[in-house]
């Protein structure tokens, strides 16, 4: 019994140890190349499947292939907001520095994904609907999601004291998380002409198997990309904020 307790304690200890910037920094440095390699593998496989294997869509022709970028980007933009808010909330509750840095690092990645989703959506919309932009539920809520990301980034950027910036950003992110579903449903009831979701958990997807594979591979690629870029950003933030610490000054990349 005692031994089990001891074991679980040491494992718990190791996990918590990672939450210190000085231990996390080198670990993240080792992980980044792995995630970049995974990004490349999934990206090449996903693009190959989506451009050469997946059949031409009966209705939408070749133009539909932009969904292999568009859909993963939209998924990532929404998912990253949740992850960002979760890290921010963790930082607020447990007062851990690294979680707040993580949230700060993920915000630009998520904003970029939201922008990419809107941009590719416009390219898709033009040939399919005949308009670059229509005011329908999912486009509008994606746009508002982008605004929420920009608000978070702007708020953190304008507060000089990092501790206050972290906490204020966390509150904003959590308020945003509560609001995202409300905004989504309100915009949905307001006006809807977007086609229904093509991939859903409850019913069989209305697309060819290979198309689904292409999309899932691309989604994995975007995941790995987000993790890699998020880790790189968090490393930069750690260096910036811990510049006064001894361990930072002894890093080979910091020493001149």
């Amino acid at each position: 019994m005692n031994e089990v307790n001891h074991l679980s304690k040491t494992r718990w200890f190791n996990w918590l140890k990672l939450s210190s910037p000085s231990t996390f920094y080198p670990v993240a440095g080792k992980l980044i190349p792995i995630f970049w390699i995974l990004t490349a593998i999934f990206g090449i496989a996903g693009l190959w499947v989506s451009f050469f294997v997946a059949p031409v869509d009966a209705v939408q022709g070749q133009g539909y292939r932009i969904i292999f970028i568009h859909v993963p980007a939209s998924w990532m933009s929404m998912f990253l907001y949740l992850v960002m808010a979760a890290w921010a909330g963790l930082g607020l509750v447990f007062n851990t520095r690294l979680s707040a840095m993580m949230a700060q690092a993920l915000a630009p990645v998520g904003a970029w994904m939201a922008f990419l989703s809107l941009w590719t959506g416009a390219f898709w919309g033009k040939p399919m609907w005949g308009a670059w932009w229509v005011w329908d539920a999912r486009l509008t809520s994606e746009l508002i999601l982008l605004f929420l990301y920009l608000g978070f980034i702007a708020l953190q950027a304008s507060i000089d004291n990092p501790r206050r910036a972290d906490k204020a950003g966390a509150i904003l992110a959590l308020v945003g998380v509560v609001n995202v579903p409300i905004i989504y449903f309100s915009v949905k009831w307001w006006n809807t002409l977007h086609q229904g979701a093509s991939v859903s958990v409850t019913k069989a997807p209305a697309m060819a198997q290979t198309m689904l594979w292409g999309m899932l591979l691309m989604a994995l690629c975007f995941w790995m990309y987000s993790i890699a870029v998020g880790l790189m950003r968090v490393r930069a933030i750690i260096l910036e904020r811990e510049a006064h610490a001894d361990w930072v000054r002894q890093l080979s990349e910091v020493k001149i």
Binding site: I144, F147, L155, S158, R164, V178, I183, W189
Partner: protein, 221 residues
């Protein structure tokens, strides 16, 4: 509760001593709504159609104008710090400040709206719906706005930043508020819109004072 009423009367008294600030926000509401017919044209059918949206957007913007004042002056002269330190629960004090803001910046909009509505050629029925939607919606604007006001306390360019933070959160209120008036004008049932506005109000009343109180504590520490 007494502390909350004390805060409300104090804030109202302060406003009465400096009426110009409040009147500016109301004047802004009237001017902005009057500009639209000048820009778009005086076709009554078109004006009737855009009236709900224009009046509601103008209400959002003029609420934003007053939000900056909710905590900023008290933050600068240290009153806010004393409120945080006082034995009264901060949530109630914050709620009092939000109510005072609504009485000053929200309620006058509800009363002014029919006059603007007449300028836009709305019929009497639509005016009632407009007032009802504003009556339910403007408190939500004051409540959500208090979060932005508290988060941006003492920051460079705080009021511009606040509008960036808060306006996206106003979207549901705008949709259901303007939607109610529009639905009424095309003969649809408005109970759905009004119920949803009421739900937003209850939700905001239940949570926002706590969030704003937390944000104020962060700004002060």
């Amino acid at each position: 509760m007494n502390a909350m009423f004390a805060i409300i009367t104090r804030d109202l008294l302060l406003v009465m001593r400096r009426k110009s600030e409040v009147l500016t926000a109301l004047f802004f509401f009237v001017v902005v709504t009057s500009l639209f017919p000048l820009g778009i044209g005086a076709d009554p059918a078109l004006l009737r159609k855009i009236a709900p949206g224009v009046i509601w957007v103008a209400a959002l913007l003029s609420t934003l104008l007053g939000l900056h004042r909710m905590f900023a002056a008290d933050y600068q002269d240290g009153t806010l710090e004393q409120l945080v330190l006082s034995p009264q629960p901060l949530v109630l004090l914050v709620a009092g400040k939000i109510i005072a803001h609504w009485l000053v910046c929200g309620l006058p909009l509800v009363i002014l709206a029919p006059i603007i509505g007449i300028q836009f050629d709305l019929d009497v029925d639509s005016l009632y719906v407009l007032m009802a939607s504003l009556l339910l919606g403007t408190p939500v604007l004051s409540l959500l706005g208090s979060i932005g006001a508290a988060l941006t306390l003492g920051l460079r360019g705080g009021s511009v930043l606040m509008s960036l933070l808060i306006l996206p959160l106003y979207v549901p209120v705008l949709i259901f508020g303007a939607g109610a008036v529009y639905a009424n004008s095309v003969g649809l049932n408005i109970s759905g819109h009004i119920s949803l506005l009421g739900a937003l109000l209850i939700l905001a009343l239940a949570f926002v004072p706590w969030v704003s109180a937390a944000a104020i504590k962060i700004a002060i520490e």
